[in-house]
């Protein structure tokens, strides 16, 4: 059985506007099993988002191999869902049209796509809001639209780039619980990028720690907390605290390295 996601010796370099080369990721190895919920944590600017772009095929790797279910990624891979950090729902489409976009792009008839979309809108708790435009919704509701928009395509791999970072704390833990509920009814592998270690542990089966740039995997930890979980309460469990302390020791060093660098480049 191949891994759902496999990165081997992946390096990603960008050309900077000044003409230099910036290495975002260096020699990164990472594997995610089918159906596994993984979180990726690391200091700001360590290449977490770049990792997702490579897995999705939005960006090619400079070196190394990226594989999904044993097949090398070339261009946008099929069977991928991607929830972006910023709002990426289409502002000129209603909720219904936004969610129905995926099936329509895959060749479903308008009627069929709308039927499926209504079902998913209900599942993310937005029934009754089908005809609203995104500007008429709250930030949390727009995230629900984005979730439905991604999940309706039945992705085998769901990539999430700090999806809840812009939400207030209450909405956030509500959305986290909903995400776990929706995910448990699918068999998708999830890669959830976040800078928040608490969020990472409470959601996932495994946490990858990425080093300060150029990013590479520093360590990975299995989170053996039982499911189903209540995100709002799980952080009070002793085992949660243990895991947190263990990972934090690793993460703290990287955050400090990154912080020192930012201070220096800020002073220069």
């Amino acid at each position: 059985m191949p891994q759902a996601i496999q990165l081997r010796g992946v390096t990603k370099q960008f050309l900077t506007p000044a003409g230099g080369v910036y290495t975002a990721l260096r020699d990164l190895d990472m594997a995610v099993q089918p159906g596994e919920f993984c979180a990726v944590v690391g200091p700001t600017g360590c290449g977490k988002s770049t990792t997702l772009a490579l897995i999705s095929g939005l960006e090619p790797a400079t070196e190394g191999e990226v594989e999904l279910f044993g097949k090398p990624v070339a261009g946008i891979a099929s069977g991928i869902g991607y929830v972006f950090q910023a709002d990426a729902v289409f502002p000129w489409k209603t909720v219904l049209e936004n969610v129905a976009a995926g099936p329509r792009y895959h060749g479903a008839s308008n009627r069929e796509a709308r039927l499926q979309a209504r079902d998913w809108i209900a599942r993310v708790g937005l029934a009754g809001f089908e005809d609203r435009y995104p500007y008429q919704l709250s930030g949390g509701m727009r995230k629900r639209v984005a979730l439905a928009q991604s999940l309706i395509n039945g992705p085998r791999v769901l990539l999430m780039d700090e999806p809840f970072s812009a939400l207030d704390v209450q909405t956030r833990s509500l959305m986290e619980n909903e995400l776990l509920g929706l995910w448990s009814s699918t068999s998708a592998s999830v890669v959830f990028v976040t800078h928040d270690l608490e969020e990472a542990i409470s959601l996932s089966d495994r946490v990858f720690v990425i080093t300060a740039a150029p990013g590479t995997i520093k360590s990975n930890y299995v989170v053996d907390l039982p499911r189903p979980r209540n995100v709002a309460e799980i952080r009070f469990q002793p085992r949660f605290v243990e895991i947190y302390e263990e990972i934090w020791k690793d993460l703290r060093d990287e955050v400090l390295v990154s912080y020192e660098r930012q201070k220096r480049s800020g002073a220069a």
């Binding site: 991607y82 000129w92 976009a101 895959h106």
Partner: protein, 267 residues
């Protein structure tokens, strides 16, 4: 709510006052002989002139025919220029190779005072409606083109990435993401470019025509009839105002998805 109502009434009253002051002082100064009526005419004469045109017809035939001719030329040029501008602007905005190749030529073409092309069109297309539509279209084209181009370039990268992940092919990316996103830019340009279409039509008529408001102005000028020139101008202004209202209605229909911005300066 009541404050808003009172404000609206105040604005309307002040607007009326401004018109009365402006027209009144014009009428008064020309009547008193401070300003030469021969060159600057006066409001009462202009009104008489328009009334005469309506009731007796103009030297070119019934007034309505002249207005209709100019409106046809303007609308034709506007539609042709805007459509070409949108299609070519979006195409170049989407295709970097094409825009890199054609970029300098477009800039050069834009630097020419395009109104003079009206003379060329009068020669090549003849004195009928075609040459006026061409002149109006070329003026409209560049404004709409640059806005469509810029709009197509400035589409949010996240939206493009999202659509591609969701499975959109290139055609869908253009029709469902790029064009709607560029639409705010394009519509903004339609407001200014309608005025230019009117300029194109009138200039086209000046280069030679048998009918139209521009031709009416031209023949009034030949007769040293200042009232006729002003009367023509007021007709053109009226046409522009009606068109502006139509474009605003179109805008509200097309960009329903945009939050209603509360503007203080809405005119």
């Amino acid at each position: 709510m009541r404050d808003a109502r009172r404000r609206r009434i105040t604005v309307q009253a002040l607007r009326l006052l401004a018109a009365v002051v402006w027209l009144g002082s014009w009428e008064l100064t020309t009547r008193l002989g401070w300003v030469d009526k021969f060159f600057f005419s006066q409001p009462s004469e202009i009104v008489q002139k328009i009334w005469y045109w309506i009731t007796q017809g103009t030297e070119l035939g019934p007034l309505w025919d002249q207005v209709l001719t100019t409106m046809e030329e303007t609308a034709g040029g506007f539609v042709v220029g805007a459509l070409l501008g949108i299609v070519i602007g979006v195409a170049l905005g989407r295709n970097h190779l094409l825009s890199d190749v054609l970029g300098p030529y477009v800039k050069a073409a834009n630097a020419i005072p395009r109104v003079v092309l009206g003379a060329l069109f009068a020669i090549s297309l003849g004195l009928d409606i075609k040459s006026k539509i061409a002149t109006a279209a070329i003026l409209v084209f560049f404004v709409v083109f640059f806005n469509a181009f810029q709009g197509a370039r400035e589409v949010d990268r996240n939206l493009i990435a999202n659509a591609r992940i969701l499975g959109a092919d290139n055609r869908r990316l253009t029709t469902e993401i790029v064009v709607p996103s560029a639409l705010s830019w394009i519509i903004a340009s339609l407001h200014t470019s309608f005025g230019l279409a009117l300029v194109g039509a009138v200039v086209g008529e000046l280069f030679g025509a048998t009918a139209g408001v521009g031709e009416l102005i031209y023949s009034a000028e030949q007769n040293f009839d200042a009232a006729g020139v002003f009367a023509g101008m007021f007709l053109l202004a009226a046409i522009a105002l009606v068109a502006e209202a139509l474009i605003t209605a179109l805008e509200n229909r097309l960009i329903r998805w945009r939050p209603q911005v509360i503007t203080e300066t809405r005119i």
